[in-house]
């Protein structure tokens, strides 16, 4: 049963700390997305990759967020330094051309 795997599931950290979220996309999917979900903003697209190349990261605060795909089995989203306003659920999703996106279970980040 193919699925997108995200770690950690929950993360509580102090303001100023670095946070790294990891995602293993479904094997064979060539597009990987990072979304952030909050009550106020809903689902926001932060960045996405196609064939491991970053295509769009315009939704991401560049000064503190970075997204990478070091290989086809791993995507990372880093926040450094973290701030309380970064508290949200972060989703990774993967897809192939034209088909639906498959979502991971999300990382609930709480920055105190």
């Amino acid at each position: 049963d193919a699925r997108v795997t995200q770690t950690p599931r929950d993360k509580v950290t102090e303001m100023g700390q670095e946070v790294t979220m990891r995602c293993q996309p479904i094997l064979g999917h060539n597009t990987v997305f990072w979304y952030r979900q909050t009550m106020m903003q809903g689902l926001e697209l932060l960045a996405y990759f196609r064939n491991r190349a970053p295509l769009d990261d315009s939704g991401m605060p560049k000064d503190r967020f970075s997204a990478e795909m070091p290989d086809a089995t791993l995507a990372t989203l880093k926040i450094q330094p973290s701030e309380p306003r970064d508290s949200a659920v972060y989703f990774c999703a993967s897809a192939t051309m034209g088909l639906e996106a498959f979502f991971g279970q999300g990382t609930r980040l709480t920055v105190v």
Binding site: T31, F33, G42, L43, L45, Y48, R50, L55, D56, V89, F91, A93, A95, M97, G98, L99, E100, A101, F102, F103, Q105, G106, R108
Partner: protein, 114 residues
């Protein structure tokens, strides 16, 4: 730019009854995909149903069906025989056939009343 609008922030339905969730979208494309996702309290985003724009026939998955009106750019989800497990946030989404991005609506929170 493509936009997806869900005008009903909240809906409720009696168990065993039928409910319809609305979605409209804006696009200049003729070929695209539309999706409904369900997000229960577990927060997992689950695909409910998919519609290809070139298909005139409305998609159906068990108790879930859509009413796809291409000219009106409308894509509503009908849930028949509602069950307690249908309670969730429902998101409508759009994707171009040759595109990468998904465009999501703001969601409709569905409550199922026993």
């Amino acid at each position: 730019a493509q936009t997806v609008t869900q005008s009903q922030p909240e809906m409720s339905v009696q168990e065993a009854e039928t409910v319809t969730l609305s979605c409209t979208y804006d696009t200049s494309e003729s070929d695209y995909y539309l999706f409904w996702y369900k997000q229960p309290p577990s927060r997992q985003m689950i695909l409910v149903i998919r519609q290809e724009a070139y298909k005139q026939q409305n998609a159906t998955e068990n108790r879930f069906s859509v009413n796809f009106q291409k000219a009106a750019k409308s894509f509503s989800l009908k849930i028949s025989d509602s069950q307690l497990g249908d309670a969730a946030m429902y998101f409508c989404a759009y994707r171009r056939v040759r595109g990468n991005q998904f465009y999501f609506g703001t969601g409709t929170s569905l409550t199922v009343i026993p």
